[in-house]
Symmetry: C2
Subunit: 199 residues, 2 copies
């Protein structure tokens, strides 16, 4: 379930898999390419993983654990909900900025189709993010920082949708623009729009 049980070589392999994902997409992620990237013969990969599926799942579990941990650290109840929301997305943009391959992994349905286990792993990542996001938005609504005009889930849907679309645009632009700067700008606009009206 967690990362603890992963060897150094296994970690190298899932990183190589990530590198391939970001450069060649899901269809480029083959055992052959993975072995080439590692400087191995293909069969050597199977010394470390039972199947291609377990490689992808290991990668996604690593991401989920990592994200969960980072988001937990970044949120503080000394901050206002607004600051926490900013912190979450700042963290996300910094992370994906340094690990663009995970964008392909998470926001790719090519992977999701591959197997039910992979599907489940991707959904868990989404849920991990929502787990952290939800209470902050709710708190922000209660304290009057965010609008109460629509339900919490809907506010989250709109925020997440804007985030995902931004990631999509970054990906089809081949990661060519600065997602961190663009992300800051997006967040400022989202902040503006979810502000309650002062009547």
């Amino acid at each position: 379930m967690s990362i603890s049980s992963i060897s150094d070589r296994q970690f190298e392999i899932i990183q190589a898999a990530g590198k391939i994902l970001s450069s060649s997409g899901v269809s480029g992620l083959t055992i052959k390419n993975l072995a080439k990237e590692m400087g191995f013969a293909e069969s050597a990969i199977y010394r470390h993983f039972d199947s291609k599926e377990t490689i992808v799942v290991a990668m996604l579990i690593y991401l989920a654990d990592n994200m969960d941990e980072r988001l937990g650290k970044v949120i503080s109840n000394r901050n206002t909900p607004k600051e926490n929301l900013d912190a979450i997305f700042n963290d996300q943009f910094v992370f994906f900025s340094g690990n663009p391959h995970f964008v392909v992994a998470v926001f790719s349905d090519g992977l999701m189709e591959a197997s039910p286990k992979i599907n489940a792993a991707i959904l868990r990542i989404m849920q991990a993010k929502m787990k952290h996001l939800m209470p902050i938005i709710m708190e922000g609504q209660h304290q009057g920082y965010f609008t109460n005009a629509i339900p919490t889930e809907e506010l989250m849907h709109i925020i997440l949708g804007a985030f995902r679309l931004q990631m999509f645009k970054w990906r089809i632009a081949n990661f060519q623009f600065d997602i961190f700067e663009r992300g800051k700008y997006l967040m400022s606009n989202i902040s503006t729009i979810i502000q309650p009206c002062k009547n």
Copy 2:
């Protein structure tokens, strides 16, 4: 470029391709499955299309033309921007409700990886939609129906992001809920949130 040059059989084939896409995803769309769906031998497919790629491209061009036409009809300058925005999304939800396979085609990066031509075709669909959306949002901002607190592009980004995420959720739920009802609800919440504050 346009649909005019498509034969009846070609139309049947792209419809069969769509059916397969919605039931089995991008990875299920093989010539073998396509031939089975048509009641053909595999080779017969090649009487009507040069390659698998041209089938997908034909399908996307059909969708782009169709969407462009429908959106053009649905928008009227007798309506308020709010009504037009509603009309656009109403139309989209009705259409995708009756043609769920196009959701897979358009919102799938599995397809986008396949070839530059397919990639370009999908981007054209997105641009067609934005072409209709942009002036309405802009008009709404000028007339004070939508908030001026953030730029038009950003408002569009947020609206499109929410729409796309809704489609994604519908797809991973295997089209099991009523996207039309859910879409109406989403639109009412978006309307609420893009309203300008009355100070």
